[in-house]
């Protein structure tokens, strides 16, 4: 890993770091969405791995305080990387705030509007990914995947995940002599309680933002955002509705009251349905860019909205009217919004409110659908100096009770000072920790197995090559992962053993979850005559076979000498081997391209016969291997790794179509990689790399 990458990771962690062993997600960050909490959790995990704060130690244990979405996502990433986890949750289940909630939808990207990806309904996360839907459904899908991750991790290490529910009075203290932390907590089940202690190496406070102020105090007016069913009324508004608060939660309630059957999708459909939307979008993108600069005045939104020519957005109000989507009010009843600011124009702070919510609020305000007043007097509500008459309903949406969340974590004085610093950093931050969603392979379970391979089996340089390969593989794996199909991939090198040449598997099979890991094959040595890999080594030609016809496929397997190795095991239906060539030096002669030979072979297979048919995937695979070769060349050039040169004369070999029936052989786009063919672009190392045993 480069120093720049490490220092970037370190500075990222500063946004969340209480001490070297304690980090906090949530509480202070803006952008409080389900999905963004996941991104933060994954980014923090990734940064902790990159900086070595989570070392390669099979007994390293992370205590995660909080079983909300941030805690669960962090736990999933850790378990995928075979890091042990103890999770504490005060509720009776994980994700208890959103579980069972059918009145709220969760959308991953909607708040990025007007960005292009805002309509994207899938999260595309490497762990615990989900699709837009009712909160209850999203929770169930995440819970099911989490269970799978736990089960799979526990097969390797039974104590890798321990979940403590109904925990209260948590206290974390240092065990200075051991460089560990002890987490004491009280578990209450069936009215009985017990104090337990847990030892961990790192603590993640995934304590979230808490519930709305007043919910835990059973305030008469307050019901949690996730539980308040009264707001989702379909009938005519018969009461005066008084909403106190101007954050995203309050605004969503405002929209739900004022627009019948409100959903962001429906609203955006209306926005996008008119040709005028092009001009409007341009104006809004400008506002978004100013917002992202982070240098604007707090009331940026309203100032800018008023600068947009009304002709650009009036069609939205007209469409809402025409489609009869504005709620019907009873006579002499109103919807009121109460905030801290005197003027409505100051309430929509761009640092805390999404542009989408601000814009809808603006549209509703321009439509004169609600009234704004400063500070609600709950006991005797007034508007413009006059009392608001009964009947009325009050909804308190004044933000979540982060203070009590922090209190419950029982931080000491030094930690509290550090929290203040985190708060300041977060307030200054425009990104709020939402950066770089291109996580590397660490959160995939293969990574652990790669680095845990017995150290004696491969030299330092070979390990470096494996590491480069796994890095290059990381992003590609994310795409494979998304395809939800079964795939295995590994890399092989050529070996000179006392003058005879062999090939050796130098990485385990990186593979989709459905297939058991075959770690034991790492380091296995095979004769060059054997298998598809051997074929590519001998000829320097890629080989792609498909098991269209079992008989023909088997006859080819026989020819390649690998029938036995698949007996009774997972039988791939399609196999692809791609050679990486190298200019090779013979008896001290100058390097000539004509003397190129195969130096390494990338092996891929799948039980899905159509797996490699996808052109985009073919390109992805070629790009992945090309990147890998380029990285190795670069590293050798920079002397990050050292390679010896090897005299290697490839053995003469028949073309594969002379061996077996042509019908099983397809080269497709991979034919470009065949050396010597017209307009071919074989993947090459700069020189032939000898990897000593």
């Amino acid at each position: 890993m480069s120093k720049t990458e490490q220092s970037r990771a370190l500075s990222y962690l500063e946004l969340f770091k209480i001490t070297d062993q304690k980090y906090i997600i949530g509480v202070y960050e803006g952008g409080q969405t389900f999905y963004k909490q996941q991104i933060r959790a994954l980014n923090i995990f990734d940064a902790l791995k990159k900086t070595g704060k989570i070392p390669e130690n099979k007994n390293f244990r992370i205590a995660i305080i909080g079983g909300g979405i941030a805690g669960l996502t962090f736990a999933a990433a850790a378990l995928k990387s075979k890091v042990k986890v103890s999770l504490f949750e005060k509720g009776t289940r994980t994700l208890h705030i959103q579980a069972g909630c059918t009145i709220r939808d969760i959308h991953p990207n909607i708040y990025d509007w007007p960005s292009e990806n805002c309509g994207e309904k899938d999260t595309s996360l490497p762990v615990l990914d989900w699709t837009f839907g009712k909160a209850a459904d999203v929770v169930e899908s995440i819970t099911a995947e989490f269970k799978k991750i736990v089960t799979s991790a526990q097969k390797i290490s039974p104590d890798c995940y321990v979940e403590h529910l109904n925990v209260q009075n948590l206290e974390v203290s240092d065990l200075e002599t051991e460089k560990k932390l002890v987490i004491d907590g009280q578990i209450t089940n069936h009215k009985k309680s017990a104090n337990i202690g847990v030892i961990a190496d790192l603590v993640i406070y995934a304590i979230g933002y808490g519930l709305e102020k007043g919910v835990s105090d059973h305030d008469f007016f307050t019901e949690s955002y996730w539980r308040d069913t009264s707001i989702k009324q379909e009938n005519l508004i018969k009461f005066n509705y008084l909403i106190s608060g101007t954050g995203d939660g309050a605004l969503i309630d405002l929209f739900t009251l004022l627009i019948r059957g409100f959903s962001y999708e429906k609203f955006l459909e209306i926005v996008n349905s008119n040709p005028k939307s092009t001009a409007l979008m341009k104006s809004l993108v400008k506002i978004r860019n100013k917002r992202l600069s982070g240098n604007a005045k707090d009331n940026l939104y309203m100032t800018e909205f008023y600068d947009i020519p009304s002709a650009q957005y009036e069609y939205i109000i007209e469409a809402l009217e025409e489609q009869d989507l504005f709620s019907k009010m009873g006579s002499s009843v109103n919807v009121y919004l109460f905030g801290h600011n005197k003027k409505f124009n100051d309430i929509l702070n761009y640092k805390t409110i999404s542009l989408l919510n601000a814009f809808i609020t603006f549209i509703l305000y321009r439509s004169a659908k609600f009234l704004y007043g400063p500070k609600l007097n709950k006991a005797n509500p007034e508007y413009d100096g006059k009392p608001i008459l009964q009947p009325y309903r009050i909804h308190i949406r004044e933000g979540t009770d982060t203070a009590s969340v922090i209190m419950s974590a029982k931080f000491n004085d030094d930690e509290s000072k550090q929290l203040q610093r985190i708060k300041e950093l977060q307030e200054k931050s425009v990104e709020h920790g939402i950066v770089n969603t291109n996580w590397n392979q660490d959160i995939f379970d293969r990574y652990f197995n790669e680095i845990k391979r017995p150290s004696h089996s491969l030299s330092r340089n070979t390990k470096a090559i494996c590491s480069v390969f796994t890095n290059a593989l990381g992003s590609a794996l994310a795409d494979f992962h998304l395809s939800k199909k079964d795939i295995r991939i590994s890399i092989h090198r050529v070996l000179n053993m006392n003058g005879s040449f062999f090939y050796q598997m130098i990485t385990p099979y990186f593979q989709s979850e459905a297939v058991p890991i075959e770690l034991h094959k790492v380091g296995n040595i095979y004769q060059l005559e054997r298998g598809n890999v051997g074929y590519s080594f001998r000829t320097g030609i890629p080989l792609w076979v498909k098991n269209n016809d079992n008989k023909v496929f088997r006859s080819m397997m026989d020819e390649l000498g690998i029938t036995k190795s698949y007996a009774g095991k997972r039988m791939p239906k399609t196999i692809l081997t791609i050679p990486i060539l190298a200019k090779f030096k013979k008896n001290g002669s100058t390097v000539k391209k004509s003397y190129s030979a195969c130096n390494a072979v990338v092996y891929l297979d799948s039980t899905d016969i159509d797996f490699f048919d996808d052109k985009a995937l073919q390109n992805l695979i070629i790009r992945l291997i090309q990147n890998f070769a380029d990285s190795i060349n670069y590293m050798v050039d920079k002397e990050d790794i050292k390679m010896g040169l090897l005299d290697f004369a490839p053995p003469q070999s028949k073309r594969i179509n002379e061996i077996v029936n042509e019908c099983v052989i397809e080269l497709g786009d991979f034919s470009n990689l065949v050396p010597g063919e017209k307009s071919s672009h074989p993947i090459e190392f700069e020189q032939f790399y000898s990897l000593e045993m």
């Binding site: 104590d159 051991e178 337990i196 202690g197």
Partner: protein, 151 residues
């Protein structure tokens, strides 16, 4: 361990490690870590064992005792086991003992039966004038202290 003709047969099967630089046990977690130290990683979640820490008057751990794996602290065997344990404790100059057992699963909160047994053990210590300062149930990553839970 010093042997004499008075040593009960079973005592010979208890192994004892004495510490040259004894550490003080001030919190249950210290006792837990003392008990866990050098516990065979492979055995921890497979074989239930009992160990005991012998403490001097200043709560310093002077020795650690390991019971053979065949020893089970059951109601019918507890009397003889405790008698052996107190014998070894006394002969090594201990003032208090802490008893620990590993749990093979994640469940470290004791059952009612285990709680009754813990009371028997505590009472036995009082009778022998070697107080059982704490009893700990634990796994590789967590522990339950009877003392912290009011026993």
């Amino acid at each position: 361990m010093n042997k004499s003709s008075k040593i009960p047969d079973q005592v010979e099967t208890i192994t004892i490690v004495k510490y040259k630089h004894p550490k003080t046990v001030t919190r249950p977690v210290d006792a837990y870590l003392g008990l866990l130290k050098n516990w065979d990683d492979q055995e921890l979640s497979v074989i239930r064992r009992y160990k005991a820490l012998l403490l001097d008057q200043e709560d310093k751990v002077i020795a650690k005792l390991s019971f053979p794996k065949e020893f089970q602290f059951l109601k019918k065997t507890i009397k003889s086991i405790m008698s052996d344990l107190f014998y070894v404790a006394k002969t090594n100059g201990a003032s208090k003992i802490i008893i620990g057992q590993n749990s093979l699963k994640d469940k470290i909160i004791p059952s009612e039966e285990e709680q009754r047994l813990a009371i028997i053990i505590k009472n036995a210590g009082q009778e022998e004038n070697i107080p059982v300062a704490d009893q700990i149930i634990f796994t590789g990553s967590m522990y339950y202290s009877f003392k912290k839970n009011g026993l």
